[in-house]
Every structure is written in C-alpha cells, then in structure tokens.
C-alpha cells in the first residue's frame, strides 16, 4: 500500500465522502495477496521479537540479568509480547486479511471461468488425417486419458483433469481460518491450573481463576461436582549404565581416532525413571464416574476438563535418633538435623526396575543422602534402614508419593484440530496431487493438418512431458490406423 494513498485516505477520511470510502478501501486492501505479504512479514518479525526477549520474566529480573533496551522493552510489552496490544492488533489484521481473502475467493470459485483466446503452444504435432477426423481423434484420445471439456467455444478447446486445485487452495486457506478461530476460542475461554493429589485425600477441581470471557461474570470457575481420588502412583525404572566420556574435545577426538578406549559404569543409583502412572478415579455422589491410569501423553478427559499428569512429589518420613520425632521432608531437598549437619536428599526411588540383563524386580524403596557440604558420593538410605550423620541416626520410616496434576479447560482444541485436518489434507493434495489443463487447436491453414497443444500443470505429481508423450503415442497410434472409407 503506497504512502501516497495512505495520506490521501487519512486526509479524506474526515469528510463524509472519505468516511464512506475508507471501509471499502480497507476491504479492498485486506482482500489482496500483496497485503498478505506485508502482514506475513510483520508476523514473522513479531514472532522473532518474542523469541529474543524472555517471555514471562518480570522487568526486575530482566534488568538484574543485564537485559538491555529497557525503554523499548517496557513500552512495547516485550516480556509479555504475545498478549500485548501490539501483537494482538497484528494478529487481528492477519486474521482479517486471511478471512476476507477466503470470502472473496469463495465467490470466485463459482464464477464461470474464462480462458484466454490464444494459448502459447507447448508442442505441435503433424497429423495425417483430414481436419475433421483429427479433431475427433484428439478429443477421443484426451477423453480416453480422462480429460473433461472445460471450454469448447473458442478457437482453442480447453480440457482438464485431476484434482480441483482451486478448491483445494481455497480449502487450506479456509482451514487456517478455522484454526485461527480455534486459537481465538482458546484465547478467550481457556484456563488451566495445577493441583497436588495425595493418596487418600480426594479433591474437587476448584480453580482459582477462569477464562478471559468468563472472568466478566465470575472470579473463578465453579468447582467440579466430582472428586478426584489417587488410588496409586507407580513408577517403573530401568537400570542405565553411565558412559564415561571426557568433556575435553581433544580427548574425544582421541577416542574417535582409536587412541583411547571407552567404558560404561554402573553406579549404585543408576536407575532412570522410564514411566510413571497415576491411577485416578473420579467419584460423584458416592459412585465412580470415571477411572483411568493416566500418564504423560495419556490424560483423562472429564466434563470439559483434560487432566494431565505433570509429575510427582515425594514426602519422606524420617525418624531421628530412633525418636518417634518424625520429620516430613520433600525428596530432592535439604533437611537440618537437630544439633547436627544439614543433609540433602535425592529423588526417592520406589517401584520396579528392569536391570541391565533384562531381569525385572521390585526393589526396596530408597533415597540417596549426603551431607550438604560434602562432595563425596551420596549414601543410599533404604526404607527401614538408617544412616549416621555426625552421630545422629536418621531412619527412613516411610514415604508418600503424590501426583502433580494440571487440568485444563479449552474449547478451542477441537476446532483447531478440525481446521488442522482440513489444512493438512488440502495442502497435501494440492501440493502433491496432479492437475492438468490442456488447450488444443487443430489447424489446416497451409494444407498440412497440425495440432497445437498447450499444457499447464499444478502439483508435484503432474508430469507435463509424460502427458505430452502419451498424447503423441495415442495420436500416432490412431494415425497409423486406416481411415474407414464411407460405404457406398
């Protein structure tokens, strides 16, 4: 859009003529593919901005970490860029541009197509028939090759075959509009929260927030009428030997060139959590309404919510010096012992393990433990066993494992997938499929009958040369055939 025309409309917008013209002008601009080039450029640039600046960070954190360009960062909301007015405005222009293009092109799909009066021949053939027979032969040959007539009123007859590429082009653009609508639904209505579900402590889904639109009439979404119960949390491990591999590049090159060897070692705590599940039950009015063993990649869908397993939290019950004094400690954290050092725990392991030799076994749960200020290898503390730290005996008396769940309400997902399916199908067919348009003309102006053919193709599977070869073979095959004489 030229600067001149923008100026012109900016000035004339104030008079009534201008006010009438402006929407028309905007509509015209928004239905143009050229505008979409500019808009797509701006979109790409704005996405880049969002990857350069740390999204979700506070300005203080940003400044502390040595972030630059503070003025711009705060003026343009660069730390929350994807929900900033600037980005949203651009997204609206992008969506309008696409939606209007789709609308305009939809109308065009039904307009009777017009073809040029003249085509530039891709190839010409000599034919040994008279003009009339040649015409029939060509038509018959093309029909047998599954071409259908698109226009036979001009000098050139136009025939076509293959996938309806105009519809497909339209379909994936329309599919993207549907996807954008799905994204809009997500933006307006979706919300998500987390909960920690302990075994034996049923909980309702009680969000503290709600979607953007729902927040107009309520602070938080209503609690669910069902309870979630964690029946069991299970983990499966696999024993994973560690590769002894140097950090130094020269040493790595030496290994690759065969001057140095390579080895694996199995440590006491070489277990890798390869799977974990939460057996969930949803209970309403005393009856179980849903039950599922969920894991990452396999959530539970219930009453508009999708309930995901994000992780787990472990609590250790420690006995100090044989005292019934119990300390609840999170695994992966530090504990200060009374009158003694601080100790650090690793992740608690419990469940079954597949050993290096393929054997499976249920093992005694254990946790690694070491004095926080020591650098040595940690000790292993098994369930029921003790370690002595600075003359203090610490016993692992028990533990609980809770599931960390996230639940999400998002009415946009289904719409997004439906649009996505259309986009994928239409893009694949349009780009990979084949469409041919052939225009031909039989000419005998200088007593030699010849056929001019123009071919256009769309789609990667369309092979122009192959089509021309087939046509030539068909026509010469017919040419050799004797022309039946009219019976007397």
């Amino acid at each position: 859009m030229g600067l001149e025309s923008v100026k012109k409309y900016a000035c004339s917008a104030w008079n009534s003529e201008g006010r009438k013209e402006l929407p028309k002008w905007a509509y015209r601009k928004l239905s143009s593919i050229r505008t979409s080039i500019y808009v797509l450029c701006l979109m790409a640039l704005s996405f880049m901005v969002g990857t350069v600046f740390p999204q979700g960070e506070s300005y203080e954190e940003y400044e502390k970490a040595g972030g630059k360009f503070l003025f711009f960062v705060s003026a343009f909301d660069l730390l929350e860029f994807f929900s900033s007015p600037l980005f949203l405005l651009l997204a609206v222009v992008f969506s309008l541009n696409l939606a209007i293009c789709v609308l305009e092109r939809y109308k065009a799909l039904f307009v009777r197509r017009t073809f040029p009066k003249l085509f530039k021949p891709t190839k010409s053939f000599l034919l040994t028939h008279d003009r009339g027979h040649s015409h029939e032969d060509v038509r018959a040959a093309l029909k047998s090759m599954k071409f259908r007539v698109a226009d036979k009123d001009g000098d050139w007859v136009v025939m076509e075959k293959g996938l309806p590429y105009k519809w497909l082009t339209w379909a994936y653009h329309a599919g993207i509009v549907v996807c954008l609508f799905g994204v809009l639904l997500t933006f307006l209505f979706a919300f998500e929260e987390m909960m920690t579900l302990k075994p034996g402590e049923p909980q309702t889904i009680a969000p503290e927030s709600t979607g953007l639109v729902q927040s107009i009439w309520q602070d938080k979404a209503a609690p669910s009428d069902f309870h979630l119960v964690l029946d069991k949390f299970t983990t499966e491990y696999t024993e994973a030997p560690e590769l002894v591999y140097p950090d130094d590049k020269k040493a790595r090159a030496a290994i690759g060139l065969g001057w140095q060897g390579l080895s694996h070692e199995l440590k006491d705590d070489s277990l890798f959590a390869k799977d974990w599940w939460a057996s969930l039950r949803a209970v309403a009015g005393g009856a179980t309404i849903a039950e599922k063993k969920i894991e990452i990649n396999d959530p539970l869908e219930l009453e508009g919510y999708t309930i995901y397993l994000l992780g787990f939290e472990q609590e250790l019950k420690l006995m100090v010096d044989g005292n019934p004094l119990l300390i609840d400690a999170k695994a992966d954290s530090e504990v200060m012992l009374p009158n003694a050092a601080t100790i650090s725990f690793g992740t608690l392991r419990s469940g079954t393990a597949t050993r290096v030799d393929g054997k499976e076994e249920e093992f005694t749960p254990y946790v690694t433990v070491r004095k926080t200020d020591s650098t040595g290898d940690p000790a292993i503390l098994r369930l029921g066993d003790s370690v002595i730290v600075d003359n203090v005996t610490v016993t692992l008396a028990g533990f609980t494992e809770s599931a960390i769940l996230s639940y999400r309400y998002d009415p946009g997902v289904g719409v997004l997938w439906a649009g996505g399916l259309v986009v994928l199908l239409a893009v694949a067919l349009r780009f990979y499929g084949a469409y041919y348009l052939i225009a031909y003309k039989v000419d005998d102006s200088d007593d030699i009958v010849h056929l001019s053919v123009h071919v256009t193709t769309k789609g990667l599977l369309a092979d122009k040369q192959k089509l021309l070869n087939r046509l030539e073979a068909r026509l010469t095959e017919n040419d050799i055939k004797p022309v039946p004489l009219p019976s007397i």
């Binding site: 090159a253 290994i255 080895s263 780009f431 990667l460």
Partner: protein, 293 residues
C-alpha cells in the same frame, strides 16, 4: 550374559559407532574441500570426485544410523548427538537423490557438504554419544512422526537453498559468458524451478510437523502452544516459506524477492534447529530455557 560382558559389549559397539562416525565426517570433510576446489577452479573432475565422496560418506552414514537404531531399539533421533547425525545424513541423501540426473552440476553440493560436515563435527566434539533411555514424554506415537517429518522438511529446504544460491551465483556468470559450472543458459530456469518444487514438497511436511508438535504438546504438557522459542522459530520458518510461496504467485516478486525469502526460510530453519539461544546471547539479552533435542 554377565553384567561385565554386557557393559563391555555396549562400550565396544559405541566405540565402533564413534569411529565410523569420524570416518563419515572425514568423507564429508574431503567432499567439502573438493567442492570448494570445484568452486574456485571450475574443474569438473573435482566436482565429480566431491560428489562420489559424498555418496561414500552417505552409504556409511546410513549403515551407522541403522546400527544406532538396533543398538538403542528406538528411533535414532532422541539426543542432540543423534539428531545432528540424522540431520546431516538426511540432507546428504536428499541432495544425492535430487541431483541424480544432473549432468556435470556439483555447485549445490558445497553447501550440503559444509552443513553435513559441520553437523557431524558438532555432534562428535560437543555432544555425548551416550545412549539414553527414552524419557516418558518421548514415549509417544507423535515422537517419530513429528521428528521424522521435521527433519525431512529440513533436508528438503537445505537442498532447495543450495539450488537457489547456486542459481543466483551462476546467473550473472552465464550472462557475462563466463565459466558455467556445468550450466547452459537454456537449462538454468528449469534448474531454478527445482528450488520451488523442493519447497512445495517440504512445506506440507513442515506444516504436518508443526501440527503434530502441537498435538503432542497438547497431550504431553496440557497445552498445544506455549510460545517456546523452538515452537516460535518453527512458526517463523513456516511463515517465511509461506511468504516465498506467495511471492511466487505475484509476478513482480517471482524473481529476486522470492529467492531472498527462500534463503531466509533456510536460515530460519537453521535457527529453529540450532540457533535459538545463540541470538539471545548475541544481543546480550538474558537467555531463555534451552530446548533439549
């Protein structure tokens, strides 16, 4: 089998694999040197030998990746070490497939050999070849589809960029009647058309890769889009290739502007794969989380 035997067998296999990988990198390195020699000398024999070396490297590389697949018992692109190897191999194979009918044209191989060599050296010197068990988020049907399609599209975009750059380099030479690198004026446009055809082939793959990534994120993390840098760069790449395709539909933009978009798309693709955090560092802006491949 006793534990010690299992461990030493694993070490032996990994050792063999590493040496093969160094061998592959050496073939790519020599291929790159000869390609560069071809660029400067315009001699056909250097180009031909460079191409042969690329073939040999690729054949060993396929063997290597097959070995890794058996060794790990899963798709060979979980760690960045594996991904880099897969990336290099798929780019070289795609190039060799696309160029199989070209006669005497070796110029585009320079970029492909350089990328393949760079990726191999990065894997060998900066990443660990350890075989990691598949973590729970990766145990999904989407994992293989998502990654294979993304890498396949990357490979196709690399070759397209190599063709595009060669076209831009050769066009003025042909006009001035200078050395041709195996090109004749009448075949140049058809050669250039290959760049478009490759993007037409790669674009649906990238589209599917992004959708499958979103579908996967939706079941694994509970959100289909988080504006993670990697996600965002894949969207930038997709947008730039969309720009390329649209500019091909506008007569006045079909030439140089379209070529620029194609090359930009390739750069964005590299950013998506590797360069996401590098940019933030370069600009002195606090870095975000690194996305492990």
């Amino acid at each position: 089998m006793p534990l010690d035997s299992i461990l030493s067998r694993d070490s032996f296999l990994l050792m063999a694999e590493l040496r093969l990988f160094w061998l592959v990198a050496a073939f790519y390195a020599f291929s790159l040197i000869l390609h560069l020699f071809h660029v400067f000398s315009r001699g056909e024999s250097a180009g031909k030998t460079a191409n042969t070396l690329l073939w040999v490297g690729a054949v060993i590389h396929v063997g290597l990746i097959t070995l890794r697949t058996f060794e790990t018992g899963r798709a060979p692109f979980q760690t960045l070490y594996e991904s880099l190897s897969f990336f290099a191999c798929s780019a070289v194979l795609t190039y060799l497939f696309v160029s199989r009918r070209w006669k005497g044209i070796y110029l585009p191989g320079t970029l492909v050999a350089a990328l393949a060599f760079g990726a191999c050296m990065y894997a060998l010197l900066s990443r660990s070849p350890a075989i990691e068990p598949l973590s729970p988020p990766l145990q999904s049907w989407w994992f293989e589809w998502h990654v294979v399609l993304a890498f396949f599209s990357y490979a196709v975009f690399i070759v397209s960029a190599a063709v595009e750059i060669s076209y831009l380099a050769v066009k003025p030479l042909l006009k001035s009647g200078d050395g041709q690198y195996g090109f004749r004026a009448d075949m140049l446009e058809d050669f250039h058309g290959t760049a478009l055809r490759l993007v037409l082939f790669g674009f649906p793959l990238l589209t599917f890769a992004i959708f499958s990534g979103a579908a996967w994120a939706n079941v694994a993390w509970g959100r289909y889009w988080s504006w993670d840098p990697k996600e965002t760069w894949s969207l930038i790449t997709w947008t730039v290739f969309t720009l390329y395709l649209h500019s091909k539909a506008i007569p006045s933009m079909r030439g140089t502007p379209a070529s620029v978009f194609n090359i930009l798309g390739f750069i964005c693709m590299l950013m998506t794969f590797l360069g996401v955090n590098w940019l933030a560092k370069l600009l002195g802006i606090p870095s975000m989380h690194v996305y492990a491949v």
